[in-house]
Symmetry: C2
Subunit: 237 residues, 2 copies
């Protein structure tokens, strides 16, 4: 019956009695309030995510405690758990954002330069990016949280995206998209493994310049591409 009365009200367009007007205003205020709370939630979540990414970029996963994070954010552990139920959740959210940032920073498709200059720029961007996150990058690549299946999936997704971009990304300077052979994939995956291993060596040995490692990686890409396209040399050695 209550439902029927309500329908009648709205269909006739008559003004509801004062009590109902007040009730509607309250509903509206609550609804608006919920939206405001939701926006606040999103903003707070983004703040915590940013803070988490900062903390996790400076320490290894195991070194970071929820207590530290809550203290740095100036909120209670309980409130932190409300946004990120576990430390792993916050880490994964941060890692996903970091992965997207890495792919954006190393995207050279919009740069107006020669192919080799674009390759050099992209590799430099990669090296600067990992150097800014040295502790967490080394920890991630040398075990640490790297054994978590979800973490591994994010890392593997980034590798796959980088190799895919080398094949055929928009404005790829390599343009070997027509040569998607198993050998070419193994060669490009291999080059990425070279880049990661050489980056780790650079980050853990301060006697190397970024430009030296960058040139090494650029230099290694030419023979990699030649081999990816099927030109073997060693048979003739």
């Amino acid at each position: 019956m209550a439902t029927r009365r309500k329908r009648d009200d709205s269909s006739t367009g008559k003004a509801p009695p004062p009590g109902r007007r007040v009730a509607r205003a309250i509903v509206r205020r609550v609804r608006d309030g919920r939206q405001r709370v939701r926006l606040d939630n999103d903003a707070r979540r983004a703040q915590l995510l940013e803070l988490g990414m900062k903390v996790f970029s400076e320490k290894t996963y195991d070194e970071v405690s929820i207590d530290d994070l809550a203290r740095a954010a100036g909120i209670s552990k309980g409130l932190l758990y409300h946004y990120f139920p576990t430390k792993r959740d916050l880490y994964l959210a941060g890692l996903r954002t970091t992965a997207a940032e890495l792919l954006a920073r190393t995207d050279v498709s919009a740069i107006d330069a020669s192919p080799i200059e674009r390759v050099r720029h992209g590799i430099d961007a990669y090296l600067s990016f990992v150097a800014e996150r040295k502790v967490s990058y080394v920890s991630l690549m040398r075990g640490g949280i790297g054994s978590d299946p979800e973490v591994l999936r994010i890392v593997e997704d980034v590798r796959a995206a980088l190799v895919e971009r080398m094949f055929d990304g928009p404005g790829s300077p390599l343009a070997i998209g027509d040569h998607r052979t198993p050998l070419a994939r193994a060669a490009l995956r291999g080059w990425l493994g070279f880049a990661e291993a050489a980056s780790l060596e650079w980050l853990t040995h301060p006697d190397l310049e970024q430009a030296t490692i960058r040139d090494l990686l650029v230099d290694m890409l030419l023979p990699t591409l030649r081999l990816a396209l099927g030109f073997s040399l060693s048979r003739t050695w």
Copy 2:
């Protein structure tokens, strides 16, 4: 007083009374028995180690249970724990043995062939070795137990030994021992990262031949060495 009497016995060289002869025989028998038990212990431990290495080479670390191991060995869980207190202990002991085997199998110093033939032989030996342990190698390299600090140390020790051998191992076919620069180290570490990444791609994609990956790795070694010695190409591109 008892001690004094014993000393007197030995210093005079007189035959001890019958009771003491029996006691000495018992001591001797217990001692011999202990040695026999110890030998049995060593043999049993070696058997369990071999069994563990076999089981761990076919499954990931998490897939292996102590129950499976005890059942395969035909002994109780309690007895297995006597030799290896935890699954991790057995895994680590097996990994150390496997690491030593890998270094032995890829040692080409005694092979009478041209440098490039020896390099090719060593790389083939590496690929065969990891292919025989496909599941555990992929699991080890892609996270899994790889985050355990002790596991990581063993893996890093193998990498360091392989790079050291490339520099200056006995009979190293590369002979760049005079060029131990940070750049050379980064280049050789990079090449090893290439080899690991390309091996993973090969092991997880059956459409690649071992000889194809071997030639790719041999081919990549020439530019790696040229760059390790400081000849950059990209500056002139």
